[in-house]
Symmetry: C2
Subunit: 387 residues, 2 copies
């Protein structure tokens, strides 16, 4: 299994960086402490047994039906409660799908760059992971079509269609339709990881693959929209996949935290709270995304090209000076007090040596400006000529 | 993967049984609702970021060091914090050990009967699971020694040394030493699952395998001594196994619930509370174990032999009338309003057709008497002659 470069960097010793664009944490100042305190107190003082006893592997029944209701609306087709499985974070969803669907020698398609946790979960199955490149419109379905025409027969295709981690790109409507068609034609399952879909702060909503394709495992959760520490994610799966996934879930951890599930279920009972909270998150993310990308455009013209995200928490950046590798830039920035993570961390085959993933979620606009100034100073230090 | 017989039974339709000796749930009336309500309120109203943000895959640092302190005392040898990994329930501990240690064709020894969740977690690795029989003194190490002498070379040996689920038996001190010696001689890892060690209500404490053996993965958690819904378990592992386990944990679910970890950590800060709570649990379990076994002795002489447990929540029962199978007894008892689970559910090779696992944890003494009366009536219905 492949360790996390970020993790290794952080444990490499030395004082922690003063600023970081490396992580993938949601902003703590938006955690709904007061509401959760109230709900936890109600549940526990009210001796809510369902908050502390084991629950079923599939998930707490009421929460499952609430999620099914949300998905039925979002996917614009009926999602039966029986197709919903609550997971210990969305990471577990990827892991369960991999365990159930992939055997050694099977092929799994992923977008490239891709979420590193997906690589970590899928690789131990022994499946061959094949990357398909991305651009501003997300995974290039023409490349995928060519691979399929060449005879590659994947069991599944994993991707983040909205504001991808790490690329920040969103799969266009045309490509969604193309991917749905390919999935039907070649008989593979689409694993649609949608952690950020509710965090669109610009541009037009595009319907999820789950609303147009056949066999889709749709993964999402509450880490990015409530708090990751609750570890409550969920998936909806085609009927034929539900039972194997539930059996794998039983073997993996019996069930997801009942307390976390009950808290989220109570939040879903508060639609007004929910609307206000998502609006708050979107405004925070929008302000920070703009602060970062504006600062890059202003301070790093000709040096760094950043993809303007329409939602989520990540922006992909390419170093335009061929003489500057991400490794050198990161080491120099680190000495100047800024942590960065290389694009190669998210690649299937250790490419992207001139790319970075920038996470703007935990810094204020002022700090983001400072961070970009440090990157500019690092370019200077490396003797890179100003454009 | 093998589904749970209990689960299948429960979902088979019809009204739920009025009484159940089938489950493995801790008693809800002992859940520390008030204390947890207070701590949750403190953590959340106090904006404790560590309760809601991601924590590291190894676990929340303070909780890890608290667990290391407990284990250093219990194992009577230094357990470094670095050897402790927090897991999403102890089930995940078994799963991670299996994923890291077992490849197809490897051999894993388990006691037979064994915890069914272990079978479910270990079987998908493709390892060959070899069962070793048990008696009142737990796993028969002579049988294991013979297997090893015959050339079987296991990677690991999984067992519950204290008040085993399902057998209720406790591995004797002599056998612990024998197992420790065999582990050293043949180079396999002992996976000591100790969910119930703190729930001894009778007899003498016996030091854990982790205090006398070489390579031991020790698994325990807070499901049985606080509440399962928090999903906080832990393991200590030999140094060489820690990193692979942590990488597998990262891939499985990134980290365990931060809220659960912080709650347990705060409880561990309250040693007096802890002493009182464990004393309460022991008294509940002792009273119920006695009520069950006394009722069996009084009402089912010559029909059912039950092993008197010294702790934990399970008693193993053997049907003494060869003409009565557990399947028939269970079906009849079910019609009379009592749920039972067959011993075969916990067997490696579908044996124990004349055995039951009786769980006494969730019924009052009066209900346990009633449950045993139903078993007696079921024997009568089946035409079994009274002894």
């Amino acid at each position: 299994m492949r360790p996390s470069a970020l993790r290794e960097m952080l444990s490499a010793g030395g004082p922690p960086a003063r600023l970081s664009l490396a992580g993938g944490l949601p902003p703590e100042e938006a955690f709904p402490f007061a509401t959760l305190a109230e709900l936890a107190s109600e549940l526990l003082s009210g001796h809510d047994v369902r908050a502390l006893q084991y629950t079923s592997a599939e998930g707490e029944p009421k929460l499952r039906s609430q999620i099914a209701e949300v998905l039925t609306r979002d996917h614009r087709r009926e999602v039966a409660t029986e197709r919903v499985v609550v997971t210990t974070g969305s990471q577990q969803g990827i892991d369960l799908v991999g365990r159930v669907m992939l055997d050694p020698g099977d092929v799994a398609i992923v977008e490239d760059p891709t979420y590193v946790g997906a690589l970590r979960a899928l690789a131990p199955t022994g499946a061959r992971i094949v990357g398909v490149g991305c651009d501003d419109d997300g995974m290039d379905t023409d490349i995928l079509a060519a691979l399929l025409a060449d005879g590659i027969r994947p069991k599944l295709c994993y991707l983040c269609a909205n504001f991808s981690n790490p690329s920040g790109a969103t799969l266009s409507g045309t490509r969604r339709q193309a991917l749905a068609d390919l999935s039907r034609q070649y008989g593979f399952v689409i694993v649609e990881d949608d952690q950020y879909g509710r965090l669109r702060f610009r541009g037009e909503h595009i319907d999820p693959l789950a609303s147009i394709a056949g066999d889709v495992v749709y993964l999402s959760g509450f880490s990015k929209v409530v708090a990751p520490g609750l570890r409550v994610g969920y998936l909806s799966a085609p009927e034929w996949l539900v039972r194997p996934i539930v059996l794998a879930k039983q073997a993996a951890d019996l069930a997801t935290s009942s307390l976390g599930q009950r808290l989220v279920s109570r939040l879903l009972d508060l639609p007004d709270w929910w609307d206000g909270h998502l609006a708050l998150l979107r405004s925070i993310y929008a302000e920070r995304a703009d602060a970062l990308t504006d600062a890059v455009d202003a301070q790093l013209p000709g040096r760094l090209r950043v993809r303007r995200p329409e939602g989520g928490m990540f922006a992909w950046a390419e170093i335009l000076d061929d003489a500057v590798t991400s490794t050198a830039l990161i080491a120099t920035a680190r000495r100047l007090g800024l942590a960065l993570v290389p694009g190669s961390e998210f690649s299937v085959a250790n490419t992207f040596e001139h790319a970075l993933r920038l996470s703007y979620s935990t810094l204020t606009p002022a700090e983001l400006g400072e961070a970009v100034a440090i990157i500019a100073a690092a370019f200077d230090d490396l003797g890179s000529v100003r454009a």
